[in-house]
Amino acid sequence: MSTLRSVIRVGGVRDSRLMVPIVALAAILLIDLIVVPGFFNLEMKDGHLYGSLVDILRNSAPTVVLAIGMTLVIATGGVDLSVGAIMAIAASVACILIDPRIIGLNLQGNITAVVGDPTYSFAPIPVVIVASLVVAVACGLWNGVLVSFGRIQPMVATLILMIAGRGIAQLITNSIKIIIFNDAFAYIGNGFIILPFSLFIVVALFAGAWLLTRRTAIGLFVESVGISFRASLYAGINEKRIKLFAYSFCGFCAGVAGLIAVSSIRTSDANQIGLYTELDAILAVVIGGTLLGTGGRFSLLGSVLGGLVIQATQTSMYAIGVAASAITAVKAVMVIIVIILYSRQVQDLGGRLVARLGRKQAAT
């Protein structure tokens, strides 16, 4: 108890923003430990780890990547609703570059050549990846221009691409679902170096974002723009450029998430890839302790943990066997609990309770 008290003293429950996502994640895993036998089982299979925990890490990759980008956008006081659509666009671009023959229905002639050839790719894979990311950044840039130069409300500005983006993604692939057989491309979402390859992408992206925002002044600029863009302007910060950067980076992250998602399912499902993930990403950021709407201080690590909380909930529900009709309700309960944990009143109450317990213990 004394250690708990010192943690509270040193960090302060209220100020330790990582506390809530850590507690939430621990609680979910604790439930799994009790309810699902073998949830924590890990085995080596074909030279890589295999188990539910690995699934959580791997399936959370797109959400976590999105959350990293979304954190910066939310910190500037904005929000990006279009990331799911950008994921679909990036996925479509990648698939069409890997297999452009499949456009239209005139694929019958060479379908055997297409089905099952693990090396076929029209454009070299590095070109595919770079092109998809460039398109994604361009989408982010478009959002940024609307928000910073057009002075359009971020929610409205990004809503445009959210609605139109999925249509664009359909248009790129002619609304045909392209199945990808190329193994090199599939490695992004399916590969393993003991741990899932997508996990390494997440770590690299997180490290990059952290260095960029915490080892340069950019992070500070982002926070100051979020707190007051006018004050930032007078302080000599080019808030337009900061916003442009935040939205472009968010677009980049959406592109990476789209590549991971499409390579994981090996199908350019423009209807479904990234569907509603913008909401998951926003939720992850909120769970991570960054304030939605007002912006300002942000926590990249918090957002990463938030993404893990969401995916852990999802995977646990599948493992426990929650009925399909109840899944969204359970998710809602999780959100409510987390949001309540953030409420200042509840935190004060908790703090007082712990303090009283501590005093009692010290007295005895």
């Binding site: 074909d46 699934d55 229905l105 359909q170 998602a261 499902d269 479904q272 599948y318 009709s325």
Partner: protein, 356 residues
């Protein structure tokens, strides 16, 4: 597809962002409106009677729900193309998924003296009583397609649409067939269902449960192996991954559409198992993607859900115009089932003739 204009393609792409499809997935590939139709004209030419009406005498008012999915786009294209082929005059109305639009269009067609047949893809099960009465008084032939309504059967000529329960039966039969490769006590099937509440999902699940006992398949729900995949690849894959962590004792996957079947196949492969050998997969819709999985042998069977209902509907309407009252009040749409066992070449030949 290449011949299609740019604008229609944008329109179609936008339409496809909508999710809900009547038939199921709303995610089937759409044929272009300009593609030549090969839908077999099964029209038995009206018997030689001199007074017999022909398709040329038919003016159809077609009230479509809207353009919410690829399935719907294929359905609309089917009606337009077949009308052109048969020389039917078609007045097409897109209700944009609004019931009041459908009712006012219905009213208008009732008043239009040139229209003698009204085809309705109903948005709701009720709300058409007044216009149906009006149509009867005006002597119009009313045919319902794809979606059934709660109305007195005497108020319409016939309903032509999919029988999802029967599709479920066929899926169960196909699964039983595929499971013959396993001993009788190893017939555990996981179910990946469609969106919660969709009629296609409810009825396919029901149909499957009615017939699964035939070869001793236990209820997937009681095994804890039934979960929604929301008609899509990503969720279905995550669901199947979790199922395979739970137990390795799964021999079959009953997926409610092709996308979900494809997602399950991905998860099976990643678990180091071979779809089509260790685990049998059954899907629905028989889209081009489903066919590809059949050809590669990963999907065992694919049950069709046919959006190309126009030939059947027009034939029925012509019968009505000629006073033939022999048709039942419900004509199930003509649908097939396809099996990996048919062999690559045969499947490829079938795929080449398909429109969606």
């Amino acid at each position: 597809m290449q011949k299609t204009g740019f604008l229609p393609r944008i329109a179609m792409a936008l339409a496809m962002t909508a999710l809900v499809g009547a038939c199921s997935s709303g995610a089937t590939t759409a044929p272009s409106a300009a593609a030549p139709s090969a839908a077999a004209p099964s029209a038995a030419a009206p018997s030689a009677a001199a007074a017999a009406k022909t398709f040329a005498d038919m003016t159809v008012g077609f009230i479509q729900t809207g353009s919410e999915s690829g399935w719907r786009a294929a359905n609309t294209a089917s009606f337009k193309e077949t009308a052109t082929q048969k020389g039917i005059t078609l007045k097409f109305y897109d209700a944009q998924n609004k019931l009041e639009n459908q009712v006012s269009a219905f009213h208008q067609f009732n008043q239009d003296p040139s229209v003698n047949v009204i085809i309705l893809a109903a948005l709701d099960v009720t709300g058409y009583d007044d216009v149906l009465k009006e149509a009867k008084a005006a002597g119009k032939v009313v045919v319902l397609e794809d979606r059934r309504i709660d109305a007195d059967p005497s108020m319409y000529y016939t309903y032509i649409g999919s029988d999802f329960i029967n599709e479920g039966h066929e899926g169960a039969a196909a699964m039983c067939d595929l499971l013959k490769a396993f001993p009788a006590d190893k017939h555990n099937v996981a179910e990946i269902s469609g969106a919660v509440g969709a009629s296609a999902a409810i009825d396919r699940a029901k149909g499957f449960r009615e017939k699964m006992g035939d070869c001793g398949i236990p209820d997937p729900t009681s095994l804890g192996l039934s979960q929604t995949g929301n008609w899509g690849v990503p969720e279905s894959k995550a669901v199947m991954e979790a199922f395979l962590k739970k137990t390795k004792n799964i021999q079959g996957v009953f997926a409610h559409n092709d996308e979900e079947a494809i997602g399950a196949i991905q998860a099976i492969k990643e678990a180091g198992l071979v779809p089509g050998k260790d685990i049998m997969v059954v899907g629905f819709d028989a889209t081009a993607d489903g066919f590809k999985s059949l050809i590669s042998g990963e999907m065992g069977a694919d049950i069709e859900c046919n959006p190309l209902l126009a030939p059947q509907v027009y034939d029925a309407a012509l019968k009505a115009l000629n006073g033939d009252t022999s048709l039942p009040k419900w004509v199930p749409s003509q649908e097939g089932a396809f099996f990996a066992a048919q062999g690559k070449d045969a499947l490829q030949a079938i795929l080449a003739t398909r429109k969606y």
